[in-house]
């Protein structure tokens, strides 16, 4: 169970890290942040449930195909240009280990939580989940993200794991990615040819797959300023309270036009019920402009259910998961409305 052979490069600047990523592209190179996903994937598979985290597994030709997942069409990604299905190998040989890891641990400029002048929030990609969990700013203004942090892994995983790693790893159940999408987060990607900002919802393209380019690094995650009469919440449904991947995760962000008044805007993100975290667009159609009451909330929750595309696996059946999407969306909409009322 020792790690495979690789060399570790330690850049002092983000630019240097980008150069290392492009220089060693042919030999295989991966970024290392907290290592709580990557180093697990690099160890020999002893427990099958740890195998699918390796993104190489999704495409390895010799991998045994255990499930097929439908994927959304994408213009930017040739692999998925036609939509259709990606084969996911849950067992079998894996990609050769990368020859190089670029460890970000000296890049303190990628750490920290900062309130911006416009009321928004900027979190460096290398910020630990624990720091986010303990930040009063995050809990007050971006509650769903704090609740994602509360629910992730265990204290030891949170001390080591980073926000950037959770998002960049592009797993459908990622407990920080799901709230980030509901909160309208934007990711800043820096590469040798420049910097670009993309909405968090457009980042993942399939389990372990994303739009990130070979030489790009996720540097910051930006969350917009809370608007009046708005709030958010995240709930992770799992078999245990710690050390468990979600069976279903739901994040809700909602804003009212005025206290008690119609819904101005709403975003519901669903985790672990599709190949990527899903932004439930139908909820917007069902709820925006309506006065929230038990009838309209139920309609919104049913709309969310319609947007889920789960598979059966050892954590839960597809049937169970869609029921839970409806129930959790309903509950979280109520929770958020109560939070908005209480914060007046």
């Amino acid at each position: 169970m020792i790690l495979p052979r690789f060399d570790v490069l330690v850049p002092e600047t983000v630019d240097e890290a980008c150069t290392m990523l492009s220089d060693h592209a042919d030999e295989g190179v991966r970024l290392l942040a907290g290592g709580t996903d990557l180093l697990v994937d690099l160890r020999r598979p002893i427990i099958p449930q740890h195998v699918p985290r390796c993104d190489g597994c999704t495409t390895h030709p010799e991998g045994r195909v255990l499930s097929t997942i439908e994927c959304a069409p994408s213009d930017s990604d040739p692999l998925m240009a036609s939509g259709g299905s990606i084969r996911t190998a849950l067992e079998g040989p894996r990609h050769a280990a990368p020859a190089f890891l670029v460890s970000l641990h000296k890049l303190d400029q990628l750490r920290g939580i900062e309130r911006l002048a416009d009321g928004g929030l900027r979190i460096g990609a290398l910020t630990s989940i624990s720091e986010i969990e303990r930040s009063p700013d995050v809990r007050e203004g971006w509650t769903a993200l704090a609740e994602g942090a509360d629910s992730l892994g265990s204290p030891l995983v949170r001390n080591r794991g980073t926000l950037g790693g959770n998002i960049a790893n592009a797993r459908p159940a990622a407990d920080m990615a799901v709230p980030t999408i509901a909160l309208g987060g934007t990711l800043t990607l820096k590469g040798s040819s420049g910097t670009c900002d993309i909405p968090a919802k457009d980042f993942p393209r399939g389990p372990g797959l994303s739009v990130i380019k070979q030489d790009e690094i996720l540097t910051d995650i930006h969350y917009p300023s809370p608007v009046p009469y708005s709030g958010s919440a995240y709930y992770k449904l799992a078999n245990r309270k710690a050390l468990e991947i979600s069976t279903v995760g739901v994040a809700v962000w909602l804003a009212l036009k005025e206290p008690g008044g119609p819904v101005a805007d709403v975003q519901v993100a669903l985790g672990a019920v599709g190949p990527v975290p899903i932004l439930a667009e139908s909820v917007r159609e069902a709820l925006i402009g309506k006065v929230p009451n038990e009838k309209t909330l139920l309609q919104a929750a049913q709309a969310a259910r319609g947007d889920a595309r789960p598979i059966d696996d050892h954590r839960g059946s597809a049937w169970y998961r869609v029921q839970m999407v409806e129930q959790l969306t309903l509950r979280l909409l109520r929770t958020v409305l109560k939070r908005i009322r209480d914060s007046k």
């Binding site: 790690l3 570790v8 160890r43 030891l156 001390n159 080591r160």
Partner: protein, 155 residues
């Protein structure tokens, strides 16, 4: 090719040439002979390899030795004071919080971090803090009691 790593372990500075793929756990156990820190799962699930890395409870099995370069590491061997068990260790003994003892080094380090961060943790805080440290013997109750007692004993 080996890389030079310098780490301060329990107050003593060590400079070692180490293969990049080796973990902090391997550095401690194999290079420094500090076998108090245990290896259980090797993938972040059990917490028995927990050490404090610059004061933060960290699983040493998923931390490369290189990532600890320039850092200060505390292990279970560093807890005793003047050759005597410290307050927390003694509380574990007194409350029967140790059976086979395999989880104890990690449990003690996680509890050390908790007690430094909050002087009066309640039972829920303690249970949450140790939720990444598995114990197959005690059923946790006695461990929780020991940590609580240590937090209350200010002598």
């Amino acid at each position: 090719m080996k890389k030079i790593v310098s780490v301060t372990v329990n107050g003593v500075l060590h400079e070692l040439a180490i293969e990049p793929r080796r973990t902090l756990l391997e550095l401690l156990r194999e290079d420094l002979g500090l076998t108090g820190t245990k290896k259980g799962c090797g993938i972040g699930d059990c917490g028995t390899c927990t050490v404090l890395l610059d004061g933060v409870a960290t699983f040493s099995c998923l931390t490369l030795a290189i990532q600890a370069d320039g850092c200060s590491v505390e292990t279970v061997e560093g807890l005793a004071e003047d050759g005597k068990l410290n307050r927390l260790q003694q509380a574990f003994v007194d409350h029967g919080a140790i059976q086979c003892g395999f989880c104890s080094p990690g449990m003690l380090m996680t509890a050390t971090e908790l007690l430094r961060r909050s002087d009066n943790p309640n039972e829920q805080d303690i249970r949450r803090a140790i939720s990444g440290n598995l114990c197959r013997c005690t059923g946790y109750q006695k461990i929780v009691e020991a940590i609580k007692a240590a937090s209350e004993d200010t002598s």
